[in-house]
Symmetry: C2
Subunit: 350 residues, 2 copies
């Protein structure tokens, strides 16, 4: 599982002490308080199977996204939904726009698909005209939006135009919006309501609601045949009862959402500006809650190791395809922790 960044347990085992985890991109406000309270009151639900149809959960998700219950599929983390999609989408060849999250490739290959990559430009922008040409031989194009690890966002109009282009030749677009809720007015920016049969949207509660331990992801699609096929092969009860409860509670937690929105709006700009002031590193401007950083004087491996000595774990981004050993990625956390991060980086690059 070396593809992933956030193996804090392995680091702890090797390093022997607790470290500040800047390698995984979780909302620093932590587990929503209201959810904790409701969970504690309802622990006896664990002695029952979850609803195998996940009716109430799907209703809550549909309401949150302004769509219908039959457009929703839920999964054990976004991972399960991704794997089911790759298993059931009719396609031989998948084109992934990168650098990006490694799991798309793993899911596609485990479903026997052929995978190729299309690169972002040098400044990590996306040239849709080039992508249109490059996509001619593929049945599915995968875009992570906003993109992990670059933090760049493609606007809805461009995605719509591209989806309509793909539709003409019966091709599909898979959009991972796992980080979209960190954008201001995300509901206007999401492609959730485009109502196109060839778009599939992946979401998770992992990042924005700080619940990666709970494992809840979902997909939105207007292709009912595809969703039925995915449901047909999924394992029963794959979403646990805690995740089911979380989905029914947190999406309506206005206080948590407001607090998160006000934190991220300020902190992502502040941290980026502070990072820019540090010599020998170049941060990428971000639209979301993590920042890709280019190191000018040190390898990502060395940087990571020296940061660990300062008790901070960063993501060595060199194993993202198209990136090299000059890239690392950090999360945006709260001000107190971000100050620690900045201090440690300054010390390490000096």
């Amino acid at each position: 599982m070396e593809l992933h960044g956030g193996n804090i347990y392995k680091v702890k085992r090797e390093f022997g002490k607790e470290v500040l985890d800047y390698s995984s991109n979780i909302n620093p406000l932590g587990v929503p308080k209201k959810f904790k309270e409701i969970l504690i009151e309802n622990l006896d639900m664990l002695e029952r199977y979850p609803d195998v149809e996940y009716r109430d959960l799907k209703e809550a998700i549909a309401k949150y996204n302004g769509c219908e219950i039959e457009n929703i599929i839920v999964g054990n983390g976004a991972t399960e939904v991704l794997f089911l999609y790759m298993k059931k989408i009719e396609a031989e060849k998948i084109l992934i726009v990168g650098p990006t999250f490694a799991e798309y490739e793993r899911a596609a290959k485990s479903a026997g698909k052929i995978v190729e990559y299309f690169p972002y430009e040098k400044d990590f922008s996306l040239d849709f005209e080039k992508l249109k040409k490059a996509s001619s031989n593929f049945q599915v194009v995968v875009i992570c939006n906003p993109n992990n690890p670059t933090g760049k966002f493609q606007y809805k109009e461009k995605i719509l135009d591209f989806a309509l282009f793909l539709e003409k030749s019966g091709k599909n677009l898979f959009i991972d919006e796992a980080f979209i809720e960190f954008l201001e007015n995300w509901k206007e920016k999401s492609v959730r309501n485009l109502n196109l049969k060839n778009i599939f949207i992946l979401r998770a509660l992992t990042k924005y609601f700080a619940l990666p331990g709970v494992r809840l992801g979902y997909g939105i699609s207007f292709n009912k045949e595809l969703l039925n096929e995915m449901e047909r092969v999924r394992e029963p009860w794959s979403v646990n009862a805690v995740a089911e409860l979380a989905g029914r509670v947190i999406l309506e937690d206005i206080d948590y959402i407001k607090a998160t929105d006000s934190w991220i709006k300020e902190e992502k700009v502040w941290l980026y500006n502070e990072l820019k002031k540090i010599d020998k590193i170049v941060p990428e401007k971000t639209e979301t809650n993590f920042i890709l950083i280019k190191l000018l004087t040190m390898s990502s491996k060395e940087f990571r190791e020296r940061m660990l000595k300062e008790n901070i774990l960063v993501r060595d981004a060199s194993n993202f395809r198209f990136l090299d050993t000059t890239y690392i990625r950090v999360a945006v956390k709260d001000r107190e922790k971000n100050l620690k991060l900045l201090k440690a980086i300054e010390k390490v690059v000096k």
Copy 2:
């Protein structure tokens, strides 16, 4: 998902009120108290990913079973482990001994295997000599032990003899021990330590520890190549953090285990004897925490519907292959609830 019995949610939606669920076979002592306390103290762990290697969890399971960490694979419920096994075991044809749990067939077929069934005898005993002959064309034989829904148990010596027979021709044996902990001295009766490469053992925390909502299952195997192959294709973090914590806590909860053992030892015999006294039904003697009942004067559908009017949900067992519309299954619960069950059955069959 009509293959399964326990869809209490659908019943609630259609029936409009709470019912006593005798259709799913869960320990009536409920969620272990110590686990609840530790979970409440540790809710912030939900904001971290689980350990993708599940090191501590596997250690706890290995210790509980007297084997090594490398013999253990964990999954999102027993279901995930079952599906991974069927995906990765080298086999074209699978022979399932039935009537039994329907999910083996579903998992095997979803992995492209051909499935056939071998029947228990009329009294639900298993004729191993016949089974040996019948298995010649198959690469895997599946036995649920103790068997759901019949409650019968095959002793270790017979399983060992059969496994050695299969080994000679390179065949495999899949043993589902999801209910084995309800047997007295189960550690002596399990095949967990036979150390044969061709046996795979499936387990769950669902039934004995009353945690179906948590989703934690595991497999035990001495075939490291197979376990590696299964690990290679599994989805990362498929076991959630609550399940991970549960596995590390409950297997050492001696008080809960003692209380459960003393309840089941007495109650399964008592309930069976009481059911025997009722005219027009014939209960099957059970080794575990559920009882198959033959109805002499009524169809399973009618019986189930009439029991629902008494606020009790039983499992219509007619959709188990080899059973017919004269069979239902009930769980063994605590004395108070079992008395309600008996009263309702008496009323319904009169």
